[in-house]
Amino acid sequence: MKYIDEFRDPAKAKKLVEEIHKLASGMFPSTPLRERTSPVAERSRSQRSRREHTRSQPLQIMEFCGGHTHTLFKYGIESMLPDTIEMVHGPGCPVCVLPMARVDDCVAIAEQPGVIFTTFGDAMRVPGTRKSLLQAKADGCDVRMVYSPMDALAIARKNPDREVVFFALGFETTMPSTALTLLQAHREGLKNFSLFCNHITTPATMRAILTDPDLRLDGFLAPGHVSMVIGAQPYDFVTRDYHKPLVITGFEPLDILQALWMLVKQIAEGRCEVENQYARIVPQAGNTAGLNAIHEVYETREHSEFRGLGNIGDAGIQIREAYAAYDAEKKFGIPFDAAPFDSAQGAGSLKCAEVLRGVMKPWDCPAFGKECNPQMPLGALMVSPEGSCAAYYAYGKLAKRS
C-alpha cells in the first residue's frame, strides 16, 4: 500500500502557491476589488445589483465536488491561499443532495415483502422523514450494502424468487456502471432485478447553482472523474452563458493547486474558458462506451428536487420507457414527483440551503455541531464525510479562529 507522493510534493506546492499569490496580489494591489479592470470582472459586475458594485470581497471559487472539499481540508490547502481567494464548497456529493422523500421511498420499497434492497454504503445513514435505510435494516428489512451494481445483479441471479432493487444514485461517475448493469440484466432476461434511479447530472446541477440570484461566484473547479465520462464539452455553457471560467480538476492536492492557479490566471488575464487540468486522465470527448450506455438507458426527468436547492430543473435522470421493466419506480408504483420540498429544510434554524448555495458557511448554521452533528445528522450535508458540514466538523478550519 503505497501512495502517490508525486502529487503531494511540498516543493511543487510551494511554487504553485507563490504563483497564485503573485497573481492574486496583481489583481488586488492593496486596492479594493472595485478597482479591478479585468474584462471578466467588468462583465460579472455588470450582472450584479448596484449595491454590490462596491464590494471589496475576495474571489469566490466553488469546488463543485465533495472529493475536492475533502482534499482541501485534509491538506490544509485553504490556509495556503491568499485572503483574496475564498473557496465555496459546492453540492457535489450525491448523498448530500438526496431529498428526504427519496429515502422514504427507498424504505417503502425495502419494506415490501420479498424485496432485497441493495445500496452503496454511504446512502445507508441518510435520514429520511421516517427512518434511514440503516434503521429499516435494524427493523428487519433485507437491506444489503454492495460495492457495485454488478454485485446486486449477482444477488438477483442467486435469489430468483426475490425482488432485488439497486439504489442507483450519483453523478456521471456511477451512471455508466448502473446503465451497463441494467443492460446486462436485460440480456440475461432477469425478471427480478430493477433500479431505483436517482442519478443526477453534473452540468445541469451546476446550471441550477448558476441561475441562483443569491450566488456570487467567480469560477469553478469541476470534478475530473465526471469528465472522464462526459468529457469537457458539456461545461461550455458555463463560460458561454454565465461567463464563469472553469477548470476540470483531479483529486490530489497538487491537482487542486494547479487548477486554482489556472483559474486565477484566467481571471487575471481576463480569459473565460473551460480548461482541463486533469488532461493526464480526462480525454476531451469522455468515455464513448460509457456515454452510449447512459444514452441507451437513461433520459432526463422533467422535474427533480435537491435537498436544499429545491427544484433543479432537468438535472434528474430517469429510465427510458423501453426499459420500464427494470424501473423500480414503475414496478413498485412510486410516485416520484410527490416529493415536496423537504419540510425539515423549511424549519428556520436549518441552513442547509444557504450552505449548499455557498452563501453561508456551515458554522453559521445555528444547528451546526449542536442538534446537527455526524452522529445525528439533521441535514444531509452532515451525513457523508464529504458533505460540507461533516467535513467542516471533522477537520475544523483555521479561518474559524479569526
Binding site: 500500500m1 511540498p10 490544509g76 460495492y147 452522529q375
Partner: protein, 341 residues
C-alpha cells in the same frame, strides 16, 4: 486443568466447576504470595508503599475488544498494560492490580487460558502483581465473549507532578514512537475490510520508560498515554486545559507506511487511531534533549521523537501539513467510520 471444552454457566455457579476454574486456572496462572493468602481481599502492608513515595495512585479501566486476540496481543495484554500505563503516566510506580472477568458462556477454555497466560506475562514484564479478582459467567448474549476489568494501585514519588493543565509556550511535544498501530491492527484483524496489511498492536507497559524520563527531567509538564481517540484527543485536552495552542509538524509524525496506507484507503486519520503503548509528553525545551536520550535507552522509547511545540493560543491543535498547509485537528465527535463509496 483440562482445557478442552468451553466455559458454561456452571463455571459461575459457585460450585465445583467454578472452584476449578478460579483455583486451578486463574489463581494458578497469576500465582503470587498475596493472592495465595486466599482471603476475600488482598492485604497490602503500608510500610512498603510509604517507602516509595508520598501519594497513592488508584485507577480502573474495563476492556472490551473484538476480536479478543489480534496480532501482537490479546484482551489480556491490554487489560494489564492499559491499567499499568494509566498509573505510570501519573508518575506512579504500578504495584498491585485487581482483575474482574465477565465471561459469556461458550468461550473456549483454551482461549481463556491463553489470555490468562498473556496477562501473567504482561504483569511480570511491568513488575506488578494481580492480587485480587472476581469471575462471573453470563448467558449467551449477555456479554461479548469476554470483558475484563482491572483496577490498579501505585505509589507516586515526591515531586513528580505532570498534569494536563501545565503546558507552556515554548515547551516541546515528545512521543515514544509509531502512532496508530493498535487501532490499525484491530481494524485489520476484524477482517471485514479485506485488507491484507501486516500491522501489530503496540501494546506495552510504559512504567519503566516514565521512570527514565522522570530521572532525566523531574519537571515533565504533561504526560498521558494516547489510547482511545489517539494523539489528537490527548493534545486537545492538553491545549484546552492549559489554554495554549499546539503546533504539530506532519512530517515529524511517526506513522508507519502500512498504517498510513490503510488510513488513506479508508479515509481515516491516523491521529485519532488508538495506541496501547504510546505516551505523549510535554517538556520544557531545555530538558527535551535529555529526556529524548533517556527514552531511547529503554525499548519502549527507542523510536521517541519530537513532533511539535507549544505556542500561545486559546486551546487549538494545529497541524502543519507536509504539503505546506495548516489545519485544525479537533476532537472527534465519535468513532471514525470508514468511507465506503
Amino acid at each position: 486443568m483440562n482445557l478442552s471444552g468451553t466455559i458454561t454457566l456452571a463455571h459461575g455457579s459457585g460450585g465445583r466447576a467454578m472452584h476449578q476454574l478460579v483455583d486451578n486456572l486463574i489463581r494458578q496462572t497469576f500465582t503470587n504470595p498475596l493472592l495465595e493468602e486466599g482471603e476475600d481481599q488482598a492485604r497490602i502492608p503500608l510500610a512498603g508503599l510509604v517507602a516509595q513515595g508520598d501519594r497513592l495512585a488508584f485507577t480502573t479501566d474495563s476492556y472490551v475488544v473484538t476480536p479478543l486476540e489480534f496480532p501482537g496481543g490479546n484482551i489480556g495484554t491490554l487489560a494489564i498494560n492499559g491499567t499499568v500505563n494509566d498509573l505510570a503516566v501519573g508518575g506512579a510506580t504500578p504495584l498491585y492490580l485487581s482483575c474482574g472477568f465477565i465471561i459469556e458462556e461458550g468461550l473456549s477454555l483454551e482461549t481463556f487460558a491463553r489470555i490468562l497466560q498473556a496477562m501473567k506475562l504482561a504483569a511480570d514484564e511491568a513488575g506488578v502483581q494481580i492480587v485480587t479478582g472476581d469471575t462471573k459467567v453470563v448467558q449467551r448474549g449477555g456479554a461479548d465473549k469476554l470483558f475484563i476489568n482491572t483496577a490498579g494501585v501505585g505509589v507516586i514519588p515526591a515531586g513528580f507532578n505532570p498534569s494536563a493543565g501545565r503546558a507552556q509556550p515554548g515547551d516541546v511535544v515528545i512521543v515514544n514512537g509509531w502512532l496508530g498501530d493498535h487501532g490499525a491492527a484491530i481494524l485489520n484483524a476484524r477482517g471485514d475490510l479485506a485488507l491484507d496489511a501486516d500491522i501489530e498492536t503496540d501494546c506495552a507497559p510504559l512504567n519503566r520508560l516514565v521512570d527514565a524520563m522522570f530521572a532525566a527531567c523531574p519537571d515533565i509538564h504533561c504526560l498521558r498515554d494516547a489510547t482511545r481517540g489517539g494523539l489528537a484527543t490527548v493534545l486537545n485536552e492538553f491545549a484546552e486545559r492549559s489554554g495554549v495552542d499546539f503546533m504539530l509538524k506532519e512530517e515529524h509524525l511517526p506513522i508507519r507506511t502500512p498504517v498510513r496506507g490503510m488510513c488513506e484507503i479508508l479515509g481515516l486519520d491516523p491521529l485519532y487511531l488508538a495506541n496501547e503503548g504510546k505516551l505523549v509528553a510535554v517538556v520544557p525545551l531545555t530538558a527535551a534533549q535529555a529526556v529524548l536520550t533517556a527514552m531511547k535507552r529503554i525499548p519502549a522509547g527507542r523510536d521517541a521523537c519530537i513532533i511539535g511545540e507549544v505556542v500561545e493560543g486559546d486551546g487549538h491543535v494545529v497541524l502543519q501539513t507536509a504539503f505546506g498547509g495548516e489545519r485544525i485537528v479537533d476532537m472527534l465527535p465519535g468513532e471514525q467510520l470508514p468511507r465506503i463509496c
